[in-house]
Amino acid sequence: MNSPSAPAFPPFTPEHSALRQAVKDFCIKEIAPYSEEWDKEGIFPVELFKKAGEMGLLGIRVDPSWGGLGMDWWATTAYVEGLTYCENAGVAMALMVQSDMATPIIHEIGTEEQKDLFLKPAVAGDKIAALGISEPNAGSDVANLECRARKVGDEYVISGQKLWITNGTRADFITLGVRTGEDGFGGISLLTFPTDVKGYSIGRKLDKIGNLASDTAELFFDECRVPARFLLGQENMGFYHIMTNFQGERLVAALSAMAGMEKAVREAIQYGTERSAFGRPIGKFQVWRHRFAEHLTAIEAGRWLCYRAVDLEDRGQPATREITMAKLFCGDLAQRVMYDCMQFYGGFGYTTEYPVGRAWRDIRLLTVGGGTSEVMKEILVKMEGL
């Protein structure tokens, strides 16, 4: 159940509500029933990308000429909110990497050829996309990434390593951060990298504690050659492009934290009417009523911070400050909320049979992935001149 305020909020038209409902239906039928199974297998069927593409989930803001829907950020918001019903944060992350992390920058600054070769099939779900920025020695410190691309004739020759790459074991292309110039942020570029080139290899698929159905990979590049025209945007301006791209990624992360914890609280409240102890439903103990009242209040605050960031982003206004705050606030809040939700289920919460146990485990990523909470604070420190 969504908060009553959400669907009635003016930027959400009936079309947005229909979209949210369609995503929800899709998740309930195509993903949720297999959630536990896919977690156990550590991967989900590759066909899901195609199904999601056919549903139109993978290019909501992309121009129709590339197969997208050409809708606004509120539509993306409705999509992220609907996606919580898949009961599997790993699958949701894989889809969001495809739709909102690896591809928007191609849509924004890519050439016609790059859009044709990479964006269009990603929107259709025919190709799987990954975003390759992080490395073993460069996570928070993006400016110091080491994977190098030398320009030789009309090609880039790439050597180095990436780590933590979502969709990495089966990506058809990677939006790849590489070093083309001097040390530091001034020497970074972005490339569209097709994974069928010689010298590319997939190392381990990492064993994680959560988001189990999503593959997170280590990737190696040994003298991989790609055409120089696969440069995305300007050479050595990659750091700025990455920072722009991060905004959408972080906003989506904040929204999914907000929607995910709200759903968990609503479900916990429902559970509280069904489970009794000491002769009354556990939801009637005042300590829990107050706790949920607090959490619903905090989530509501988080929602409006997210919506404010969506509003700015949607109107093309500077939104870094609000997006950073939303990611920080919702990511951190989600930890406390999920802790309590899990506690409320007692022993059942500690099993993977109840979605709450899995959600608690999965939500842990949200203060790390897409930039840690500490990094969010550092950004705010700079912006606020503290």
Partner: protein, 259 residues
């Protein structure tokens, strides 16, 4: 082929139903409205027939102004256009009034084949499609679980209980009502939702159709609504086993009246 689907908007099964202050209806406020689940099978079947034999799928829905939302869901699934009957002249119709209006609208639109859900999950009256068929003088096959069309001959199956299946051959034009399991309804995809916005919607009033509908013409009237009585708490018998059995039989006979 001109294929029509009768579609009703109903409260979501998860909605908590409350009776309004005048006890002549339910409170609309908090209710989430959905397409009657059985009607989704009807829409899917119509779309499948269309892709096999060509033509057009037209959604017919009678209800209040919000019924268009339900029709739009069907348009987003792939139906071509909608016909909405949301005039005051239809308000308070009984099943006959609803069926007469829908039958007339289907006639006006040159419909040659009609699908509907086997029942609407709000009032479970199970009447409208049957009456529509009767008024159109078309055969009606209810609660079908499979559908095969060959020219204007259609073979359908119905699950008739006890694990038995009835096979019926029908000649078109005809009315079919869909049971669960007839097919698996497709989703309203997001591109479908976008396209649905610009699909044509036609409106008819009761005057346009020249039908006798609405509360004034209703032969069935509703005196009032009330909630089912709350279920009494369970009882646990005690005492000697033999006495318990005797007591149980007595209660089943005298109180529960099931023996």
């Amino acid at each position: 082929m001109n294929i029509g689907v009768l579609l009703k908007q109903v409260p979501d099964t998860e909605s908590r139903i409350k009776i309004n202050g005048d006890a002549n209806g339910i409170e609309d406020g908090d209710i989430k409205w959905i397409v009657n689940p059985y009607d989704e099978f009807a829409v899917e079947q119509a779309l499948q027939v269309k892709s096999a034999v060509g033509g057009e799928v037209v959604i017919f829905s009678l209800g209040s102004s919000r019924t268009l939302d339900a029709a739009r869901t069907a348009l987003a699934m792939g139906a071509d256009r909608a016909v909405i009957l949301d005039d005051d002249g239809f308000a308070g119709s009984d099943s006959l009034g609803v069926a007469a209006s829908l039958a007339k609208a289907a006639q006006e639109e040159g419909i040659e084949l009609l699908f509907a859900g086997k029942q609407a999950i709000d009032d479970d009256a199970v009447q409208v499609p049957q009456i529509v068929g009767t008024l159109l003088e078309w055969p009606v096959a209810t609660a079908i679980s499979s559908y095969e069309q060959d020219g204007d001959s259609v073979t359908v199956k119905r699950e008739v209980g006890g694990g038995q299946t009835e096979v019926i051959k029908v000649t078109l034009p005809a009315v079919f009502t869909a049971d669960k399991g007839l097919n698996s309804p497709r989703y309203a995809s997001l591109p479908g939702i976008m396209k649905a916005k610009s699909k044509p919607v036609k409106r008819y009033t009761a005057d346009d159709l020249g039908v006798e509908a609405g509360a004034d013409n209703a032969k069935v009237t509703t005196d009032g609504y009330h909630m089912p009585p709350p279920r009494p708490a369970g009882r646990i018998l005690d005492g000697e086993l033999g006495d318990q059995v005797k007591e149980l039989v007595k209660l089943l006979r005298q109180e529960a009246k099931v023996l």
